[in-house]
């Protein structure tokens, strides 16, 4: 693989820090509120959240298209809060690619080099290296409208990388591709980022995409960062109800803490029963005093379906609906006043039908207390 190796880099991988960054437009409510993030050099960092959560606004502040209303943005230890976008040395891939329609592939990729007055020979060499990196050799003289969506996407990536940016920003780059191409391109982006060992900030609303590609994820909603962590941390130890439900499926159980003994607690789910929990597995913000209202999360695959009701933390209910998906069966269960979703690995055609009784075991090590 040719292209942009570490030795080729002008700047080593850049870290990015956001300190108390807020942004309001006009006199309205802030779109982004007091965001604090530290993105390590070389890291693949994702801003994840539903539309309108402020993730794109945050990205555009890093790019310099918006200036924060308050707060600071640092590249390394350099304050870039109010630096114009053309001085930041950032490569950006836009949602709709934003390729220059009046230029060829070569001219598009060469644009940033031309602006930097890179000598002609070097420019040619670097453009063809970049095109090789994104596997578009020989397409130099195509017009943009002669390319497929996936090819346009890769031209945009080459154009962003050829300037050897300190930072690569990607704003929902896969949302205009069809499902199959999306998976391929996702892998490709990750490969290129690793090979060029560049810091990447990625914006998406697709949690599966975020989980698959990222080193770390910041989950945002309503302009606020709910949680920052590795995909595993975010999946297994969600900080808030929002994170628990936005990332994958989750059962949210509201109850009251009735007993506390060291790290062991007992939670009463009104009208359903009692569940033992491990108070070490909680968001530190959750109170542990007896009588506090708490919210438990447990993933459908964390709940075990038992043949017999034995041992603690077993609740008995009735199957409301069953969906067989091949690898597992997903049950909708009514137990007392609570509705659960539980998925059970398929065991050779063993099926429960709506109305059948069912026993659910909720292991304490699969339960997490959220804020």
């Amino acid at each position: 693989m040719g292209g942009l190796r570490m030795s080729d880099q002008q700047t080593s991988a850049q870290s990015v820090t956001l300190e108390h960054v807020s942004k309001s437009f006009g006199n309205g409510a802030p779109t982004v509120r007091d965001v604090n993030l530290t993105i390590q050099g070389g890291e693949f960092f994702t801003l994840l959240g539903p539309s309108g959560c402020g993730k794109t606004t945050t990205l555009r502040m890093i790019a310099g298209f918006y200036y924060p209303t308050t707060g600071r943005i640092l590249f390394g230890d350099r304050d870039v809060t109010y630096m114009p976008p053309n001085d930041r040395n950032i490569g950006m891939v836009f949602q709709n690619y934003a390729l220059f329609p009046h230029m060829t592939v070569f001219e598009n990729v060469a644009f940033g080099l031309r602006v930097r007055k890179v000598p002609r020979d070097e420019m040619k060499r670097r453009v063809s290296e970049a095109l090789k990196l994104v596997r578009l050799e020989g397409m130099e003289h195509r017009r943009i409208d002669q390319l497929s969506g996936g090819q346009q996407q890769r031209v945009a990536l080459a154009r962003a990388l050829v300037i050897r940016p300190a930072l690569l920003l990607l704003d929902e780059p896969l949302s205009n591709l069809d499902a199959k191409l999306r998976d391929e391109t996702r892998t490709e982006i990750r490969r290129i980022q690793t090979e060029s060992s560049i810091t990447a900030v990625y914006v998406t609303h697709d949690q599966a995409e975020a989980m698959a590609i990222s080193d770390r994820i910041a989950v945002m909603e309503g302009g606020v960062v709910h949680q920052v962590g590795t995909p595993q941390e975010i999946y297994h130890r969600p900080a808030t109800r929002f994170v628990a439900t936005f990332i994958g499926k989750s059962n949210l159980l509201e109850g009251k803490l009735t007993e506390v003994d060291g790290a062991a607690g007992l939670v009463e789910l009104a009208g359903t029963g009692h569940i033992r929990v491990d108070l070490g597995r909680r968001n530190p913000q959750v109170p542990t005093a007896v009588g506090s209202r708490v919210v438990l999360t447990v993933r459908p695959e964390g709940i075990q379906v038992l043949a017999q009701p034995d041992g603690p933390n077993v609740l008995t209910g009735r199957v409301v609906a069953a969906e067989f998906t091949g690898a597992y069966t997903e049950y909708l269960v009514q137990a007392g006043e609570t509705t659960f979703v539980a998925s059970s690995a398929d065991r050779y055609g063993e099926v429960r039908r709506p109305g059948d009784p069912i026993h659910l075991h909720i292991p304490p090590e699969r339960v997490y207390l959220v804020e």
């Binding site: 976008p85 053309n86 490569g91 709709n96 934003a98 220059f100 329609p101 409208d145 962003a160």
Partner: protein, 568 residues
């Protein structure tokens, strides 16, 4: 060293959040100086007489039997009538040509927009050549059937209405045809599928969806009718606002002309605002693609013959004004009196145009003045379109309206405004009086036609993805570099199309010119008018054919530009 320093400073300026005002301030100044302040000057002139403040010039408007009131009512009446006739002609043509298949459809469709290629002044004289009491058609019928006198003649208000219908139905045709072409056929299919009958589909589904196009067409037609001056002039209808303004101005009563101009401005601007408001509302767009609109084929033999005859008549009506202009342009001046057709033909009219320096002068004047105005229009139009599309700033909606005001103002009013503002030295004319000099006409053309450049540039910019510019910026380009290398090349087609229209309109301009031209800058259209008054029909028509060729070239070029607009 100095350049680098300047470069650095410029970069800091363009990066500043106040940079927008570096662009907006000159724009606001130009619009204030040449559009808004002249309007205010007209208003001030209308409320002053020798003894100070007065409302006497407005009194006439409150008296039902006064000339002004009569003129206002007639103008509104003829405009409403024009809207109705144009709607009937334009929409039925759009429906026929877009929804039916019949013999002669292609021919008719290719000629349907010919009225737009007709030069504004001589085009209306063509109607006189054809249909007035001494016109070709009535005389030919009289001769053919040996009648004692001509069976009909186009004159007065009827004449104005017919000319308005002919020249303005394209506003309805183009908007209705675009709406019909954009329909989602599956909506119609859904209606049939739900059991609707054909007439129910039309009244419940198709017509309601045409409403936005009809309203847009009506407002535009009404506005252009209110501003119409040439048709009333040629058909001798005095009691029309624009005519009254011109008469008052010719009589030297600038205060009365100003009062009338102010009233007409208020009506026009109200309509402009109404139009902008309406355009910002939701329009109906089709969502699905694939199935194309189905045309109903006319199958019965009787229907086919009827359709063929009707398209033939339609084609004739459309093409006759053009043909008659070409024919008359070859006729010998002063020989066509009582005959059906001009009796003597010659090439002299054209030869004179290109050899006599006296005959060439109006052409040179018009080309030069229009070119000057076009250059200025490009500067204003591009800067305004860019600022309004890309920046947020205080007073944005005011600027938006101010740019489009001259488009809504009748040419007559623009002329009065310029007289009122610039018959004394002004900072905007470098301390000189420009009324009565060469520069007054380029200025008038600039004011009247810069909205054309603005609109067409604005349309291309609005389609353009702003992130393209951001991509250039993030790749390290300065604001100026990305404007030059990315934004401008992408909006170039829009600029060029608008500039061409502005140039062509400038070359044909009559309405404002006739009130403010001088011996030194007499334009083509004024020359044509003078020639017509001295019965030199041949030479006048030759000038007209020249204008028509120019318009056709411009239309051809801008159509090519639009077709090649596969990006942006």
């Amino acid at each position: 060293m100095v350049a680098a320093k300047w470069n650095d400073r410029w970069q800091r300026i363009t990066a500043s959040p106040y940079f927008v005002y570096v662009i907006v301030a000159p724009l606001a100044l130009v619009l204030w100086g040449y559009v808004v302040q002249p309007m205010l000057a007209t208003f001030l002139a209308s409320v002053q007489d020798a003894s100070g403040f007065t409302l006497k010039y407005y009194k006439g408007f409150f008296n039902l039997s006064s000339t002004q009131m009569e003129a206002l009512l007639t103008t509104v009446g003829i405009s409403v009538a024009s809207v109705i006739t144009c709607a009937i002609v334009g929409v039925s043509m759009a429906v026929l040509l877009n929804r039916f298949e019949f013999p002669g459809r292609r021919l008719l469709e290719s000629l349907i927009l010919v009225p737009m290629a007709l030069p504004p002044l001589i085009g209306i004289y063509a109607f006189q050549f054809l249909y007035s009491s001494s016109g070709i058609v009535p005389r030919a019928i009289k001769l053919l059937f040996d009648l004692p006198q001509v069976p009909f003649a186009l004159k007065g208000l009827t004449g104005v209405l017919v000319v308005h219908t002919f020249t303005m139905y394209p506003y309805f045709y183009t908007s209705a045809a675009a709406a019909l072409a954009g329909f989602d056929p599956s909506l119609e299919e859904a209606a049939y599928n739900l059991g609707a009958r054909r007439w129910q589909v039309w009244t419940r589904v198709l017509l309601p969806m045409l409403t936005p196009a009809l309203v847009a067409g009506s407002l535009l037609t009404f506005m252009v009718s209110m501003a119409s001056y040439t048709a009333p002039l040629i058909f001798g209808v005095d009691r029309i606002m624009t005519m009254q303004i011109a008469i008052a101005r010719t009589n030297g009563d600038l205060a009365l002309a100003s009062a009338e101009a102010t009233v007409l401005s208020v009506v026009s601007i109200a309509f402009l605002i109404l139009m902008r408001w309406y355009q910002n509302r939701r329009t109906y767009r089709s969502l699905s693609k694939g199935v194309s609109v189905h045309r109903t084929e006319v199958k019965s033999p009787a229907g086919k013959i009827l359709a063929m005859v009707a398209s033939l008549i339609g084609t004739l009506i459309l093409i006759l004004p053009v043909l008659v202009l070409v024919l008359v342009s070859f006729s010998k001046d002063g020989t066509w009196t009582v005959q059906v057709l001009p009796p003597k033909y010659t090439l002299d009219n054209y030869v004179t145009l290109f050899t006599s320096s006296r005959a060439w002068r109006p052409i040179r004047n018009s080309l030069a003045m229009s070119a000057l105005a076009t250059v200025a229009s490009i500067l204003l139009g591009v800067a305004a379109a860019y600022a309004l599309n890309r920046f947020k700033f205080k007073g944005k909606s005011l600027l938006d309206i101010a740019v489009m005001i001259p488009w809504a103002l009748p040419g007559t009013v623009v002329a009065i405004n310029l007289i009122a503002a610039f018959n004394q030295p002004s900072v905007f004319t470098l301390g000189k009086v420009v009324v009565g000099t060469f520069w007054i006409l380029p200025l008038a053309y600039f004011v009247r036609f810069s909205p054309l450049v603005f609109r067409s540039t604005n349309a291309t910019l609005a389609q353009m993805d702003p992130s393209v510019e951001e991509a250039a910026r993030s790749l390290g380009a300065t604001w100026w570099y990305s404007f030059r290398r990315v934004t401008f090349p992408l909006m170039f087609r829009g600029v060029l199309a608008g500039a061409l229209m502005a140039f062509v309109q400038g070359v044909g301009e009559f309405v404002a010119s006739v009130l403010i031209y001088t011996a030194r800058n007499q334009p083509i259209s004024v020359e044509i008018n003078n020639l017509m008054y001295s019965f030199k029909f041949g030479t006048a028509a030759a000038y007209g054919v020249l204008q028509m060729l120019l318009i056709l070239i411009a239309i051809y070029v801008s159509n090519r530009l639009e077709q090649r607009q596969n990006f942006a």
